[in-house]
């Protein structure tokens, strides 16, 4: 029976490669990007204060639930949902499997010698299969955050535009692009079909699937932009609430 080559023929081991380009740059950038967001968002979520300013509400704290029996930051009540969505996202999986698990660190670059590997077939990674349920939750969040963005244009009952209104609007927009370019959504909205032409529903599903497919090609881009906007929205509102910067009113 034909076989694959044994690992002994060529040098192997973590980082072994004949590649001459900067293959390590991408994993380093991912570690830096996800690492700094992780540190900031954990800190910000634990603060439990300075999350609102005027009509603005930080996306880390929306929807805002305040209960007497809950003695910790209200962010912790909700953040597990977007966190789970991103953690099980097909793009982020690629990013962290490469950058944090070196599995593989880059294409045609060696891994830690002989470590056990079961891909996404065993606990914990088999849980990646529930991604679509996080998608359902994330879709609800998009409506909530869009409402927050709308609210951010009403200052004491009067319409106005501040920099914060624009920040929250951009945030809702990019989070929407990220969420609705999801691979699971692409499947559910039409990709699951084999036949796109045999009845009217199939035609409609073909249309929606085609649109989601176009968004999906840029899924990684939306993932990073929305990560930046959501972090920036919290920073902006926090700094305003702390009195360190002043929100500029355009109208």
């Amino acid at each position: 029976m034909a076989r694959l080559a044994p690992n002994t023929m060529f040098k192997s081991g973590l980082g072994t490669t004949q590649r001459k380009d900067n293959w390590w740059l991408q994993p380093v950038l991912v570690v830096f990007g996800l690492g700094s967001f992780g540190i900031y968002s954990t800190w910000a979520a634990l603060q439990g204060n300075h999350y609102a300013f005027g009509p603005y509400l930080s996306p880390f704290y929306s929807p805002l639930f305040i209960f007497d029996w809950w003695h910790w930051s209200p962010a912790l009540l909700i953040l597990w949902a977007p966190l789970g969505f991103r953690a099980t996202c097909y793009y982020y999986r690629k990013a962290y499997y490469r950058a944090f698990f070196a599995d593989p660190p880059a294409c045609a670059v060696g891994e830690l010698a002989e470590h056990r590997y079961s891909g996404e077939t065993k606990f914990p990674f088999i849980l990646q299969n529930i991604h679509r349920f996080f998608f359902y939750l994330a879709a609800i969040f998009i409506f909530i955050l869009s409402y927050d963005a709308y609210e951010a244009f009403w200052f004491d009952g009067h319409f106005g535009i501040g920099v914060g209104s624009l920040v929250l609007t951009a945030n809702a927009l990019f989070l929407g692009l990220y969420t609705f370019s999801c691979h699971s959504f692409r499947h559910l909205i039409g990709g699951k079909r084999d036949c796109f032409s045999n009845c009217s529903l199939a035609k409609a599903q073909y249309k929606t699937w085609s649109i989601v497919s176009i968004l999906n090609q840029r899924h990684m881009l939306w993932a990073w932009i929305s990560l930046c906007t959501v972090g920036f929205a919290d920073v902006y509102i926090r700094l305003c609430a702390m009195g360190i910067i002043h929100d500029i009113r355009i109208i």
Binding site: M1, A2, R3, L4, A5, P6, N7, M9, F10, S12, T17, Q18, R19, K20, D21, Y90, R93, K94, Y97, R98, D103, P104, C107, A108, G110, E111, Y117, S118, G119, E120, T121, F125, I126, N129, I130, H131, R132, H183, S184, R186, H187, L188, G191, K192, R193, D194, C195, F196, S197, Y206, N216, Q217
Partner: protein, 252 residues
């Protein structure tokens, strides 16, 4: 006129091992790596073994690793490579080396044989089958595959972890083209999960990065298949829905 030359470091050996040998080759306009290998064969050492056929990127025979990257030798132009250092040319490392740049890819054909073939549904009343372009689009992308096996070579599940039970990206592409075919009625989803082990793929996309036909293997073939496997095996709501309406096209 002084001739411009490049240094090529070629793997020479067989399945027991080997060494790298350096050769000087003259450069010419439009030259590809396969030309350099041919030059070495013609002038320096006619025992150097290489497999090739079309020199047009269509037969899929000349896959190798150039400066560590899995590529077709006939489609890699010398002027796209840095010439200040020797250019390494090696066989595909995931498969056993027969000699020099030629490796034994027959493991792939064994996997291929396990895939249940196309099974068309009953023909229309006039005895023919018809479907429209929008049904064909998705599957057409997968038909571009030239079976160079560069994706199989780079896939870490095969390359590093030697999971011989894993079908690998090329055959997940073939499975996707059959599963998404509008006229096919065979059901391969359980096999995709249990026999071809799609769960071993961790969607790190190296297959997509190296495919010379630019097939979006991970996004268009593997992830949609993973989603179908989720619907069948991991999604209680979809199961309930399927039972309720019993006309879901994932289960056909």
């Amino acid at each position: 006129m002084s001739e411009k030359t490049a240094k090529i470091k070629v793997f020479r050996g067989d399945e027991k091992g080997g060494e790298y040998k350096e050769y000087d080759v003259p450069l010419f306009e439009g030259m590809v790596v396969l030309d350099a290998i041919h030059h070495i064969q013609a002038t320096a050492d006619n025992t150097l073994a290489v497999r090739w056929n079309c020199k047009a990127g269509k037969c899929g025979s000349c896959g190798g690793e150039i400066n560590g990257k899995p590529r077709l030798m006939c489609m890699t132009r010398m002027d796209t490579l840095p010439l200040d250092k020797p250019i390494t040319v090696e066989p595909m490392k995931t498969f056993p080396v027969i000699k020099d740049l030629v490796c034994d890819v027959s493991w792939n054909f064994e996997i291929n044989k396990k895939i249940p073939p196309f099974k068309p549904k009953a023909p229309l009343a006039d005895g023919t089958w018809r479907f429209s372009q929008e049904d064909a689009d998705r599957v057409q992308e997968f038909r571009k595959c030239i079976e160079c096996f560069l994706c199989q070579n780079v896939c870490h599940v095969l390359r590093n972890h030697k999971k011989e039970e894993f079908a690998g990206p090329r055959f997940l592409v073939r499975l996707a083209s059959l599963e998404m075919h509008p006229l096919d009625v065979e059901d391969r989803l359980s096999l995709i999960k249990e026999a071809f082990h799609i769960g071993l793929c961790n969607i790190t996309k190296c297959c997509t990065e190296v495919c010379p036909e630019h097939i979006t293997i991970t996004d268009n073939a593997i992830i949609p298949l993973k989603e179908r496997v989720v619907s069948r095996f991991y999604d209680p709501i979809a199961k309930f829905w399927q039972k309720l309406f019993a006309k879901n096209d994932v289960t056909k």
